[in-house]
Symmetry: C2
Subunit: 158 residues, 2 copies
């Protein structure tokens, strides 16, 4: 049985260990991912990070973190989303995205942006976002590294 709920402090060890097992993430991304997770646990309003967790049989197997863009009235961002490789393919990532979108609408947001990389390593991630209804709206060359562009996706919430 899959349960979706807000993050709790006890989720951190399992989620941080899961992140280390996901091949897309580079080692320098892990401290940033962990900082975002920890902010959403200890002080969501102050950090501006909110995290939804997916739990299977009492074990956290995925999460998505969203927050409102500073100085924006209606744009929110999904900062990070990850699902345990062992439980991928069951629609958990898609449902996490949907939960973020519902929460953003409830808080008065009207659209979501998210950022990813143009490299082949992230091709599956880009296809996943497109299949969730996100449109590629911008690309900034050599942003992350030479040959590694920033790709911005966005979705208007109905």
């Amino acid at each position: 049985m899959i349960v979706y709920r807000d993050i709790v402090p006890g989720d951190l060890p399992a989620l941080e260990s899961m992140l280390r097992r996901i091949s897309e993430f580079a080692p320098d991304e892990l401290p940033v991912a962990n900082e975002v997770l920890e902010g959403s646990v200890s002080n969501p309003a102050g950090s501006g990070y909110y995290t939804v967790v997916a739990e299977v049989d009492g074990r956290p197997v995925g999460y998505a973190t969203y927050g409102s863009t500073p100085l924006s009235r209606g744009n929110w961002e999904i900062y990070w989303a990850a699902v345990d490789p062992e439980t991928q393919g069951r629609g958990i990532g898609r449902e996490l995205m949907r939960r973020c979108e519902t929460a953003v609408k409830q808080r008065g947001g009207w659209q979501i942006t998210l950022e990813t990389s143009s490299t082949p390593q992230y091709a599956r991630t880009r296809r996943f976002h497109a299949s969730c209804g996100y449109t590629e709206i911008a690309r900034i060359p050599d942003f992350y590294d030479r040959g590694d562009d920033l790709v911005i996706f966005y979705k208007k919430l109905g």
Copy 2:
């Protein structure tokens, strides 16, 4: 005589008062601008904000704040740039931009992005960036508010 130098704590009162006199900035932007300024004074390495100040006759009359983009190897951003309305038209803004670009190159960056608004209020700002060699590379609709798009400019450093 115009002097360009790194920010010092004593600049804060004059720069914060200057920001209040600049009509482009909305009231909700001032706390963010001040936070960025204060970060660059108290802890540039920790905050990731570096500020160059322009001083005329011993008085700070403008500044620009830049920093490296997290998780990027070569992209830097100019977060904020402002010149006192009374000393505009003397090329101070342009020289502040140039100083940021030189500093970014010295630190190994190869390009700069900056963000502004699509509204008529920022038309002069957009023309200024274009005249400094920045290209509009992305536009995200309704980002700041309905009808107020995000415009991203960028410039490759030679």
